[in-house]
C-alpha cells in the first residue's frame, strides 16, 4: 500500500506550432518539458503556476486528452502513456477530471438526471431500473435538492453547475480526481462552498486530488503538498506548510510576495516583496539554462548556461535552483 497512486516520470508534451513542408522538424511549443512527481493515495497535490507554465497541459495529459510526447505516466503500477480512448475502462473510471468552465462542461441539451446517469450506466454501477435512485444519491452527496434532476444547465447557476460536474466525476467512484481551476470562474462566496464540499468528499471517500490553480491562498487551505511550475518545469515541490513558510526558489518567493491578502497576519507571513523583472518568455523559445533566469533578481552567470538539477534539500522538499 506504499505505492504512490500516480507516478509521473520525466513527462514531456510538445505541440507542433510550425511545420516546414517535407521536413520532420518544426517549431514546437514545449508546454511540459520534463517533470517528475508522485501523487499518493488520499493526498491533495496542488499544482500552481502562471499562464504558460504548463499546469493545465499536465492535467489534460494525465486525464488522457493528450498523448505524452515522452516520459511515463504510471497509475496504480501500470503504464498509461496513451490517450483516454485507448485506456482500459477501469482506468477511465478511476481517473476523472473537472474542468474550469462550468458553462461548457455540461451538455446544455441534457437535464441533470440524464447527465448524471451516464457514468453510472457506463461503468455498470447501476441498472436502468435503479439508476434514478442512484442519481438522487449523487445529488445528496453534493447537497443539491432532488428536484434538480429535471433542471437543465442553463437553469442553474455556475456554482451549482460545478457541483453537478463534480457529482458526475465522482459517480464512478474514482481514485484520482483532476481539478483544473474548478472555481476560478466563480465568485468567492460560491467558491467557498464548492471547495469545502470537495474537501469533505475527499476525506470521506479517501480520494486523491490533483488540484490546479493560480490562487495561492486557496492552495494554502486545500493542498497537502504544493508544486510550482514555470515554463513547463517544476521549480519547487514541498509539503504545504514548508512551501509557504520556507519558500526556497526565487520564483516561489516572488509569487508569494505578490499575493493580495486581507488581514495583517497574512501580510506578515509573506516573503518580502520581490518585484519581478521583465515579461514571461514564450514556451516556444524557453530561455537557456535555468528557465527563470530572465526574470530572476538573484541570477548569476551559471544560471544562463546550465539548467539546475531538481534535488531534495529537506524532507520532501525539492528545488531546482543553482543558489541552493
Amino acid at each position: 500500500m506504499n505505492q504512490p497512486l500516480l507516478q509521473i516520470k520525466e513527462l514531456k508534451k510538445y505541440f507542433l506550432v510550425e511545420k516546414r513542408l517535407f521536413s520532420k522538424s518544426g517549431k514546437y511549443l514545449k508546454a511540459v518539458d520534463g517533470i517528475t512527481f508522485d501523487l499518493n493515495p488520499r493526498e491533495v497535490l496542488g499544482l500552481v503556476g502562471e499562464s504558460g507554465s504548463g499546469k493545465s497541459t499536465v492535467a489534460y495529459t494525465v486525464a488522457g486528452m493528450y498523448k505524452p510526447t515522452s516520459g511515463n505516466i504510471i497509475f496504480q503500477g501500470h503504464q498509461i502513456n496513451v490517450t483516454a480512448v485507448k485506456r482500459p475502462l477501469v482506468v477511465k473510471k478511476d481517473i476523472q477530471i473537472v474542468f474550469q468552465d462550468p458553462g461548457s462542461s455540461l451538455n446544455p441539451r441534457r437535464n441533470v438526471r440524464q447527465i448524471l446517469e451516464r457514468p453510472l450506466l457506463l461503468y455498470n454501477l447501476a441498472s436502468s431500473r435503479n439508476v434514478r435512485s442512484k442519481v438522487e444519491e449523487l445529488l445528496k452527496m453534493v447537497e443539491l435538492p432532488r428536484e434538480y434532476m429535471l433542471k437543465y444547465p442553463g437553469e442553474i447557476g455556475g456554482g451549482e453547475r460545478q457541483l453537478i460536474a463534480i457529482a458526475r466525476a465522482l459517480a464512478s467512484q474514482p481514485k484520482l480526481l483532476i481539478l483544473d481551476e474548478p472555481t476560478s470562474a466563480l465568485d468567492v462566496s460560491i467558491q467557498a462552498k464548492i471547495i469545502n464540499t470537495l474537501s469533505n468528499l475527499q476525506k470521506e471517500f479517501g480520494l486523491s486530488y490533483l488540484f490546479i490553480t493560480h490562487d495561492l491562498s486557496l492552495m494554502r487551505n486545500v493542498a497537502d503538498r504544493v508544486a510550482i511550475m514555470y515554463l513547463g518545469k517544476i521549480l519547487e515541490i514541498a509539503p504545504t506548510l514548508d512551501f509557504f513558510r520556507n519558500p526556497l526558489h526565487p520564483y516561489t518567493q516572488m509569487l508569494l510576495s505578490a499575493i493580495p491578502t486581507i488581514k495583517k497576519e497574512e501580510e506578515e507571513l509573506k516573503p518580502k516583496r520581490v518585484p519581478p523583472t521583465g515579461e514571461i518568455p514564450s514556451p516556444v523559445n524557453p530561455p537557456n539554462g535555468c528557465r527563470f533566469h530572465t526574470r530572476c533578481p538573484l541570477k548569476f552567470e551559471k544560471c544562463e548556461i546550465d539548467e539546475p538539477i531538481f534535488k531534495e534539500v529537506a524532507s520532501g522538499h525539492w528545488v531546482s535552483c543553482h543558489l541552493i
Binding site: M65, A84, V85, K93, F99, N107, R109, R113, R132, L150
Partner: protein
Amino acid sequence: MGAMKAEEIKVTFHQIGHFWYKFSRKPISVAGLLVVLTVIFLAIFADWIAPYPDHAGPYVNLTLGAQPPSKDFILGTDIYGRDIFSRILFAFRPALLTGIVVLSIVVPIGTVLGLIAGYYSGKWQDTIIMRITDVFLGLPPLILALAVSAVLKPNLFNSMVAVSIAFWPWYARMVYGMVASLRNEYFVISSELMGERKTHILFKEILPNCISPIFTKMTLDFGWVVILSASLSFVGLGEQPPTPALGTMVAEGSRFLPNQWWTAVFPAIAIVIMVLGFNLLGDGLRDALASEES
C-alpha cells in the same frame, strides 16, 4: 419513480407552451403556420372540398374550355375544360409529398454525413465526405436536378430523386459546420474521456445541440423543394399529366397568356402562397428558437 417521469412530462409540456408563447409574438409567423396547415388540410381533403374532383383526372370537356372565373368555376377552367380550383387542390398533394419525401431522405443522410465529417474534422473522414459534398455544392441545384431528371424516366418518383440529389449536400455542410465547433466543447470531451461510444457521442450529445437549426432549415427548405419540383414539372420532368401538378399547370397555361391569363396565373399564385407560408413559418421558428438561446 412514476412521479419523476410525470414531472419530466410536465416540464416538456411547459417547454412547448413557452415555445408557443415566443413563436406567437410575431403574428406573421402564425399566419405562415396557418397557411401551411390550410394547404395540408386542403390537400388531404381535396376529394371532399373540390367542387369537381373528377376534373383532376382524365376529364375533357372542350365546350367548357378556357372559361374565365365565374360562379360555377371559381378560378375558371383550363384549355381542356377542367376546373382550375379543383385541380390546384389536388396539385397540392404531389407538392407536399415531394417535400416530405425529399426531406425525409435528405435530412437524415446529410445530417449523419455532417456529424461524421464534423466530428472527425481534420482527419480522412472529414476530407472524403466534405470534398464530395463540395463537388455537389458547386453545381447549381436546378441544373443538377434537371440533369438527373433528364437521364431518368420522367415521373414523380424520379423527380423526387433528382431534388434529393441536389439537396443533401446543403445539410451535410450546415451540420458539419456546427459539429466541427461543438466537438471541442468540454462536455463532448468529458464524454470521450469517460469512454462513451462514438454513436452515443454523435447522436446523444452532439446532435441534440444541432436540432434547432436543422429543423428551421427544413421548414425553410420545404419552400425550395416545392419550387424545385415545380420547375421540374414545368419542363415536363415531374408528375405526368393528366395528374395535376402546379408546375405543369403553369406551363400549360403560359401558352395562353395574356388572354386566358387565369390558366397560368392562379396555379402560380398557389405556388407562391405555399412557399410563402413555409418561409414565414420557418422564419418564425428561427426567431423563436434563437431568442431561446439568449
